[in-house]
Symmetry: C2
């Protein structure tokens, strides 16, 4: 089992990656309160009962559209009904949605209780469970109400990957390939193993690599102040805008599409060489062979304008890959960004 | 003007106490977003327009019962409508309710923006605006949803004290006398000036003393971990329970009543000497000559059991004054606490 420390200023966090990580829950002191969604609960009810017997379990509906105020209040209701004290530990067992909401509920209940993240999807294991970002969507804006709240522990157990549908594997690959574009060593490893990207044995290995990379970034810039952490938003401005406009596909798929689109911005705005832009697109193609067509994509500029990264009105900020292991924050007028979006409207 | 640094681990905070403090708002960089309540807005509309011209103003209903989810969401709606970016500053102009909600809205909007507190009541100036505690009430429990979020600046301007009704002065005196019980020097000053407790010139002076005391406590124990900050909860277990059960009176009055009641607990449980318990009650009497009678007070134990400080079921934790400048956390069975509450049911 890999044990990775995330040394953030606010609170150190330990990530366990590998078989048996889930069992670490048995070591927790304090009353446990489990948050999960109905899909995960159906599959892992017995496992949960074995690892944290007697703990109250709050089961929320599954899916991104439930990452909202209503579900958050329901979680508070159940925490209060369980008469949870501030020495209790919230255990979030699920994908990114459960992790984000569980983290936020823990950050706010009695001004903050401990949280243990048990990510059950590939996406959550390689990305969202590590680093303490928590949030809900509100008013049509993604993640606009949230907090930085570091989990005490993150337990990445391959146990949960066995039941994932291939759509979920592809979703996780979106963030894994993003990490490969940001980190040259991980990028090389992905290319060397391009035939094994859907193999569980390989994924188990790459999860720990991605967590180690993210732990370094988050330790350096916990709250996205200095900028290093911003690099993790590669492709995300476009991804979030498409998610708000079209829904349906997974976050990771939209990240792949976002990186594809933003590689053209980087190339044509002179932020990277044409060869590097092609490398980004080739890396995206390892998981997403054909970028889908989005009719009316340029309309999505209105969603991109809501993005938290923007600092000026009528301008869109994007994080661009400038070279292997290099990135740049780049702001362009909304009108010009909309023109780039039109690349998604039809294939030349 | 007194300038007091609050050196907390998460973020240093500066408190300005004195005439002209409000004008410091003019020095803020970044877009301002003003939160206030209808009472304060009626009185200080022109002052606000002069100090932060053009800033959007969100006016919420006045009163403790609006410190809830609904008002918080309304604030988010207005922040989104103003297209506020994460470099903006929320300016909370009002009493404890506005400060608590403004602080929480700032803590959560885009995972945290800067906040400047402009406390307009005596209570908020001496206590709630300093130290970064933010919260709303939820599910019948006070302050159960919240965060620690340090204000960048706190501007305590006596300008606002001129319009306060005497009920509000008495409310502030509740926390001032609490500070006097915790800090021997402040206690002595209050006794020396017992005839001047309602004079603005004296209150202006004591505000800075109380802020300096609180700054020391908060710097030592920002998130109430080590225990020093818990001392600020003197009288508050009972105060919060009575507030939930009876409403009507101000927080500060309930703190006075809570300290009175808890002095009997301290004395009879052997936590302090009878002489010190009498000193606490005499200090309370400087502002509250006659403790009111509460019919059925022992029923309030059910509210005390909801208190965040409790760590065990069916037991109530109280913070007791053990001597001048000394305090002790003390836990007693709910049943015994209820018997003490009955002291409020009739005067012997």
């Amino acid at each position: 089992m890999d044990v990775i420390q995330v040394n953030t200023a606010s609170r150190p966090s330990t990530v366990y990656c590998g078989t048996g990580a889930f069992e670490k829950l048995k070591e927790e002191s304090g009353a446990l309160f489990v948050l999960t969604d109905c899909n995960v609960y159906k599959l892992y009810k017995e496992h949960l009962a074995a690892v944290c017997p007697g703990a109250p379990v709050c089961v929320v509906p599954a899916g991104e559209r439930h990452k909202n105020v209503r579900t958050l209040l329901h979680i508070f209701d159940e925490m209060l009904a369980a008469r949870l004290h501030r020495n209790a530990v919230l255990v979030a067992v699920g994908g990114g949605v459960v992790g984000d909401m569980g983290g936020l509920a823990a950050a706010l209940y009695m001004r903050g209780i401990r949280v243990v993240q048990v990510p059950t999807t590939l996406l959550a294991q390689v990305d969202s469970s590590v680093g303490g970002k928590t949030a809900i969507d509100y008013g049509g804006v993604k993640n606009v109400v949230g907090a930085f709240w570091q989990p005490e522990r993150v337990l990445c157990d391959p146990l949960f990957l066995h039941t994932l549908p291939s759509r979920e594997i592809k979703c996780g690959l979106g963030e894994i390939l993003k990490t490969g574009i940001l980190d040259a060593a991980i990028g090389a490893k992905l290319w060397e193993n391009k035939a094994r990207l859907y193999e569980l044995a390989f994924l188990e290995e790459i999860v720990a690599d991605c967590v180690r990379f993210k732990a370094r970034v988050v330790a350096e810039d916990e709250t996205e102040q200095s900028g290093v952490r911003k690099s993790l938003n590669l492709g995300h401005t476009t991804a979030h805008a498409l998610e708000l406009a079209y829904g349906r596909r997974s976050h990771g798929e939209y990240v792949l599409i976002g990186m594809w689109l933003e590689s053209f911005i980087a190339e044509r705005e002179g932020v990277c060489s044409p060869a590097h832009a092609q490398y980004v697109r080739d890396t995206v193609a390892l998981a997403e062979k054909r970028i889908p067509v989005f009719a009316g994509a340029r309309q999505c500029v209105k969603y991109a304008l809501l993005d938290k990264k923007n600092a000026a009105k009528d301008a869109v900020s994007v994080l661009l890959s400038a070279g292997k292991g290099e990135y740049a924050e780049y702001t362009l007028p909304a009108q010009r960004y909309a023109e780039y979006l039109s690349l998604l409207e039809a294939r030349a």
